[in-house]
Symmetry: C2
Subunit: 135 residues, 2 copies
Amino acid sequence: MHSLNNLIIEFYDKLSSWELSVVKDTGYSLAQVHTIEVLGSHGPMRMKELADRLGITTGTLTVQVEKLVQLGLIVRTPHEVDRRSILVELTSEGTALHKHHNRMHLQLTEDITRHLDPESIKVLTQSFEKMNREF
Amino acid sequence: MHSLNNLIIEFYDKLSSWELSVVKDTGYSLAQVHTIEVLGSHGPMRMKELADRLGITTGTLTVQVEKLVQLGLIVRTPHEVDRRSILVELTSEGTALHKHHNRMHLQLTEDITRHLDPESIKVLTQSFEKMNREF
DNA sequence: TCCAAATAACTTGATAATCAAACTAATAAA
DNA sequence: TTTATTAGTTTGATTATCAAGTTATTTGGA
């Protein structure tokens, strides 16, 4: 258990470094790409929910979103029922950035699992499913 | 492979959120705890190496380190052979913070793996070893 | 129904984190 | 021994962040 713990920490650390270098290549900031990631994988959402997912306040997010709108990556649309809220969603350019980032991730996954046999991949997948459920 | 990729991304995302909330409880910033983490798990090191591991410039690190020294978490000692360099290392208080954070991690690992059978744990551990080697 | 409380987003003012570039001191290489 | 490189710091500017206050809207009692 102790060694597994250390391996997870090391895995997380290496993934963070990889993410940082990949993001730097895009020319956007880590916070910006992270925002695009969340919108890309979960779809349009309100400011409040987005802020919660990103772990920042709505005040901070207002500024971030303003910049991403100017960059043409996202758009703000009024919420259909709740007029206090606005929905944030990706533009086609934002979607393209998300897809590009996703391809990078997929390539990484292929790279780091290339020495795993099919049975291990299967167990690994099931284990991740179970672990993700426990957070 | 595609689903495993998504599971890894989700795992990373949840781990990030967990880390953020755990760090917030300590009263220190994410950057500060991260610095302590690196020093705690790899031992004393030069500014340059520490900056590289953290993914920041030495200019930024100089400011960070100064604050951590004032907080009593780390100390600067001259490098024995290279007089351009200084070694950064944890104080006993810094070590205590690292140990505390490590215990949190261990607890998390125990929590998220509690529904995995011994054989899966074994395969999972071996898989992480192989994946970490490929980064 | 109507008003108080809660919620969503934004704004403002302050602080922390970051970088690039310039600088100093020391080492390495020619 | 010069010259080039490296380590760390400083400076000036920019970005990210928060807490607190503001406005508009919704919700939940009385």
